[in-house]
C-alpha cells in the first residue's frame, strides 16, 4: 500500500513534466494565452466597464456569474460547518481521559495553545483601525487600484480573527450582531441575484450593466452594491466560520 502511494507520486510527477515541458515558456507577450480573450479585456475593458483595475472588471462584469458561484461556494461552506454538530459537545463526559480541549482565544478554557503576548495584543490594537481603513479603501478603490470586494472581505475577516484572539471572542462577536447574522451572511448571493435582475430589466441580459455614458451613475451604484454585498457577506461568513470552529 505504501509503495502504491509512492508510485502514484512518481507517475504524477513524470506525467506533469511531460505535459508542462510542452508549454511555451512563460512571460512571452505573444503566447496564445495573451493574445485572445485577455487581450480584448485589456484593450477595451476600461471603456466597456468603466473600471481601471481589470481584475475587478473580469470578476464583476465579464465573468460575474463565476463570482456569483464563488460567493455561493463560501456560503455553502458556512452552512456546511454549521450543519455539523459541535465536536466538543458531541461527547460531553463519557469517561474518556483526554485533557480538556485547548483554545486559541483569551478566555478559552484551561490550556492555551498559543499565548498572546502583550506586545502582540498592543500591536493589534494599535493597527486595528488602520487595517480596517485599508479594508475599506480596498473596497472603495477596488476598481482603480488592487483590491475589491473579496479582498476587502478577506482583510475584514482576518481583522476579526485578530481581534478575537487578542480581546476574546465575546467582544469580537459584538462586531457581528447576532440578530443580523442570517441576513448579513446571505448578502453575497442575494446582492448578485438582485443586481443581476436589475441588469436584466435595464439591459435585457442577466448580470448585465448599462454601458451608455448617461447611465454612468447607475452603473456605479450597481457595482458598489455588489461589491458591498461580497465584502460584508464574505467578512461575516469568515467571522462566523471562525466562531463555529472555535467552539
Amino acid at each position: 500500500m505504501r509503495w502504491l502511494g509512492l508510485a502514484l507520486v512518481v507517475v504524477a510527477a513524470a506525467t506533469l513534466m511531460l505535459g508542462v515541458a510542452d508549454l511555451p515558456p512563460h512571460g512571452a507577450p505573444d503566447a496564445p494565452v495573451h493574445t485572445h480573450v485577455g487581450a480584448r479585456y485589456l484593450e477595451r475593458g476600461v471603456a466597456e466597464t468603466g473600471m481601471r483595475n481589470l481584475v475587478t472588471a473580469v470578476l464583476l462584469v465579464y465573468r460575474g456569474f463565476d463570482t456569483f458561484l464563488e460567493v455561493v461556494v463560501i456560503f455553502s461552506a458556512l452552512v456546511a460547518v454549521v450543519a455539523l454538530p459541535r465536536g466538543r459537545a458531541a461527547r460531553p463526559d463519557d469517561g474518556d481521559d483526554r485533557p480538556p480541549a485547548a483554545s486559541l482565544t483569551a478566555e478559552g478554557p484551561a490550556q492555551q495553545l498559543v499565548s498572546v503576548s502583550p506586545v502582540v495584543a498592543f500591536v493589534v490594537q494599535l493597527l486595528g483601525p488602520f487595517i480596517a481603513v485599508f479594508a475599506l479603501a480596498s473596497l472603495y478603490r477596488g476598481h482603480v487600484s488592487p483590491g475589491g470586494g473579496f479582498q476587502s472581505a478577506a482583510i475584514f475577516g482576518a481583522l476579526f480573527i485578530a481581534i478575537a484572539l487578542v480581546q476574546g471572542r465575546e467582544r469580537a462577536a459584538l462586531l457581528v450582531p447576532r440578530g443580523a447574522r442570517v441576513w448579513l451572511q446571505a448578502l453575497g448571493p442575494l446582492s448578485f441575484a438582485l443586481i443581476g435582475t436589475v441588469g436584466w430589466i435595464l439591459t435585457g441580459a442577466f448580470l448585465g450593466y448599462p454601458a451608455d455614458a448617461a447611465a454612468y451613475a447607475l452603473r456605479e451604484a450597481m457595482v458598489v452594491a455588489v461589491e458591498v454585498g461580497i465584502a460584508v457577506g464574505g467578512a461575516v461568513i469568515l467571522a462566523q466560520l471562525f466562531m463555529a470552529m472555535e467552539g
Binding site: 485547548a102 498559543v114 488592487p146 478577506a154 475577516g157 480573527i161 470552529m245
Partner: protein, 81 residues
C-alpha cells in the same frame, strides 16, 4: 537580478514545503504552511498580481492557518510517526 530573486524564492518555497512535510509538531507544520503561503504571496506580487497577493496574504496565510490552528487545538498536536 530579478531572475536571481525569482529562483531564490522558488527554492525557498520548495524547501519550506518540504519542512511542512517533515514537521511532526502540527502547530509547527501549520505555521510553516503559513510561511509558505506568505512567500507565495510575495512571488505573486512580484509576478504582477497584487490583487491575488492581498487575498492570499489574508486568506491563505491568515484565515486558513488560523482555522488549522483551531483544529489542532481541538484535536491533537502531535503527529504519530
Amino acid at each position: 537580478m530579478s531572475q536571481l530573486f525569482d529562483a531564490l524564492l522558488l527554492l525557498l518555497l520548495i524547501s519550506t514545503a518540504i519542512t511542512v512535510v517533515r514537521a511532526t509538531d502540527l502547530v509547527a507544520a501549520v505555521v510553516k504552511f503559513g510561511l509558505y503561503s506568505l512567500m507565495m504571496c510575495v512571488l505573486w506580487q512580484h509576478r504582477g498580481a497584487p490583487d491575488v497577493a492581498i487575498a492570499e496574504a489574508a486568506v491563505g496565510a491568515g484565515v486558513t492557518s488560523v482555522l488549522f490552528l483551531l483544529t489542532v487545538a481541538r484535536t491533537t498536536r502531535v503527529e504519530k510517526p
